[in-house]
């Protein structure tokens, strides 16, 4: 039964969706304090290369590699984030765009370590390694009626799903905390926030670094799901992809980034004839969204509307607990 439902092809797409959701959140979180970073493809690359190189060359366990990948990306985030405080809006976007390209050029040229554009192959695959561990305990996927590769991808998807749930839970909590309110205040009006005693430096660097860590984390996961990375994976177009997730889905809410990443990953798969026009559609989406719905598909009022509908159905039994979702 399970074996019929779980098609590795679908599992593969779901795993890409889950990784893209993390990327979408990474740009959402920097945007939530009013900063636009176009360098997330670069941070993603740093995470991916760090983890891949550590696991290949030093036989580090994958989960440690992924964590270190995220940490290194975070360190770069701080290094860029602090001087970038002097920049706002458009200038920050341009500087981070430059940063992303510099990172890519370094990956291409630092051949002794990164193998240049040949890319790194033979990166330990997350699912296959997990599978090995499971096999040691005497577990056989046949018991569930699954084939080996079905089971491998199921493991990948489950791991990513767990990671996603934890991350989303964490950021929803954060949004409702002091930190989230500080981000929102800074996004609204930096000077007003400052005069209210919010430490702008701290919170801006914090949100920038969180974005970098998440992008690095997603990059590291990507490396261990694809088992092969090359500098071309982290070029300007990737930065645009990530931007689309948040802009299309909605940049005010975490659900926007999640919806955007999900929708924009499935769309070219579901409608294969569209994949030819994929980037053209992206372009039109960006222009149209800015002109008609700059806050993205999912915004606070849409969410409230949903909530109201649900509440009506339940006869308002939920009471007043659902308020302020930001």
């Amino acid at each position: 039964m399970l074996g019929v439902i779980l098609n590795p092809y679908h599992l593969q797409i779901v795993s890409f969706i889950l990784i893209n959701i993390i990327l979408g959140i990474s740009i959402y979180i920097t945007l939530s304090s009013g900063q636009l970073s176009l360098g997330n493809a670069g941070f993603m690359g740093i995470g991916a290369y760090t983890s891949a190189l550590l696991t290949i060359n030093f036989d580090l366990p994958i989960f440690l590699g992924i964590i270190l990948g995220a940490v290194v990306a975070g360190v770069f985030g701080i290094l860029i984030g602090i001087p970038a405080l002097r920049l706002s809006g458009v200038y920050l976007a341009i500087a981070t765009l430059g940063f992303g390209e510099v990172i890519r050029v370094i990956f291409v040229n630092w051949e002794s370590i990164t193998q240049g554009s040949i890319g790194l192959s033979g990166i330990p695959h997350m699912g296959r390694e997990l599978f090995k561990t499971f096999s040691l305990t005497g577990f056989d996927p046949d018991m569930l009626g699954l084939k080996n590769n079905q089971f491998i991808y199921l493991l990948v998807v489950l791991t990513l799903l767990l990671v996603n749930i934890l991350l989303i839970w964490f950021f929803i909590r954060q949004n409702k905390s002091r930190v989230g309110r500080a981000f929102a205040a800074i996004k609204m009006d930096e000077k007003a926030a400052e005069s209210m005693g919010i430490n702008i430096t701290y919170y801006k660097v914090l949100s920038f670094t969180q974005g970098a860590i998440l992008a690095g984390f997603a990059g590291a996961l990507y490396a261990h799901v694809m088992a092969y990375i090359s500098p071309a994976d982290f070029a300007y177009h990737r930065a645009v992809d990530i931007l689309i997730f948040s802009i299309f889905g909605g940049s005010e809410l975490i659900w926007g980034a999640i919806f955007g990443a999900t929708f924009m990953t499935i769309l070219p798969e579901a409608l294969r004839f569209i994949s030819d026009y994929r980037y053209m559609i992206y372009g039109v989406v960006l222009i149209a969204m800015m002109a008609f719905r700059p806050q993205g598909i999912i915004d606070v009022s849409l969410l409230n509307w949903f909530k109201k509908k649900l509440k009506l159905k339940r006869g308002g039994s939920l009471g007043i607990r659902t308020k302020k979702y930001n």
Binding site: G34, L36, P83, A84, R86, L87, S88, G89, V90, Y91, A93, I94, A95, L97, G98, F99, E101, V102, V105, I106, V108, N109, Y236, V240, L243, I247, Y277, Y279, M280, Y282, G283, V284, V285, L286, I287, M289, M290, A291, F292, P294, Q295
Partner: protein, 294 residues
């Protein structure tokens, strides 16, 4: 060899400068970084190829057509991607940047579909005229490119500082509402600026096609990013700064190839962006104002 490399550098730098002039005009008036400028430049180059190679028409028609088409593109860019955002409540200052990124992706992929991914040769007898000075070959196109870039810079500076339209433009740049109170038709001024900037991109496109005999859909992105680096280097909205920055970048890139590692050639522009922005946001030639970089 040094002399030849300097000529290469100046040619490249002059093209960069023309591209950057378009960037700097739009930024100076609207405070917007027009990410689609590189793609408009690329379309200009393709129009040049079409007119001369496919239809076999003379070069001056190609110039006129490229200027015409890119001017129309500029008008459409303003109408579709910029005007709807202006003065709208609750639109962040990042919106125009994102919207022009949208235009740039759209144009790049559109020309992929129309013209194919390949390189199109720009074959024209004018591009073959050359002089022999000692062991160095100089092409007339190279001289022309340099002359055009200098002329454009001088004309633009004069136009901005001395003519009425130029003054209106600067007033709009200073403060949109005040300018409109003082009787400047700001809407028209803005549209004129974007059209003018796009036409400059079109001119640059044809010149690149002639100088390097290579036109492809990807050229817009790399040229656009270089132009961006130059206006940051030369100071946003600074016409002379754009010219100086363009020449500087062209020469530096050439010298890196000549005496260093050609693999890092493209990185120079981006490293420049990062360092200038972080250390001296007003650019090398910019005035030191409190608002610079903010």
């Amino acid at each position: 060899m040094l002399l030849e490399q300097i000529i290469n550098g100046i040619t490249l730098g002059s093209i960069y400068a023309i591209v950057a002039l378009g960037f700097t005009l739009v930024f100076g008036v609207l405070g917007i970084i027009n990410m689609a400028h590189g793609e408009i430049f690329m379309i200009g180059a393709f129009i040049g190829v079409l007119i001369t190679s496919v239809f076999g028409l003379p070069l001056w028609i190609a110039f006129l057509a490229a200027i015409g088409v890119t001017a129309i593109l500029g008008y459409m860019l303003e109408r579709i991607a910029l005007r709807p955002l202006r003065g709208k409540q609750g639109v962040s200052h990042l919106a125009p940047l994102i919207s022009t990124i949208g235009v740039s992706i759209l144009l790049e992929n559109l020309s992929h579909h129309i013209f194919g991914a390949g390189n199109h040769p720009f074959r024209h007898s004018f591009a073959q005229i050359q002089f022999q000075v000692g062991s160095i070959t100089i092409y007339l196109v190279q001289i022309l490119i340099f002359a055009i870039s200098i002329t454009l810079m001088v004309v633009l500076s004069y136009w901005l500082s001395k003519t009425k339209a130029g003054k209106a433009l600067r007033a709009t740049a200073e403060n949109l509402e005040t300018a409109s109170l003082l009787g400047v038709n700001t809407k028209r001024t803005i549209t004129t600026t974007v059209i003018l900037a796009s036409a400059l991109g079109g001119i640059a496109g044809i010149l690149v096609g002639m100088a390097f005999n290579s036109v492809n859909p990807q050229m817009g992105l790399s040229m656009g990013l270089k132009g961006l680096a130059i206006i940051i280097l030369g100071g946003m909205g600074n016409v002379k700064g754009a010219m100086a920055g363009g020449l500087l970048l062209g020469l530096t890139e050439t010298m890196i190839v000549a005496y260093g590692d050609s693999g890092y050639r493209d990185a120079i522009a981006f490293i420049t962006i990062i360092f200038i922005l972080l250390l001296r946001p007003q650019g090398i030639f910019g005035k030191n104002t409190a608002e610079a970089g903010r």
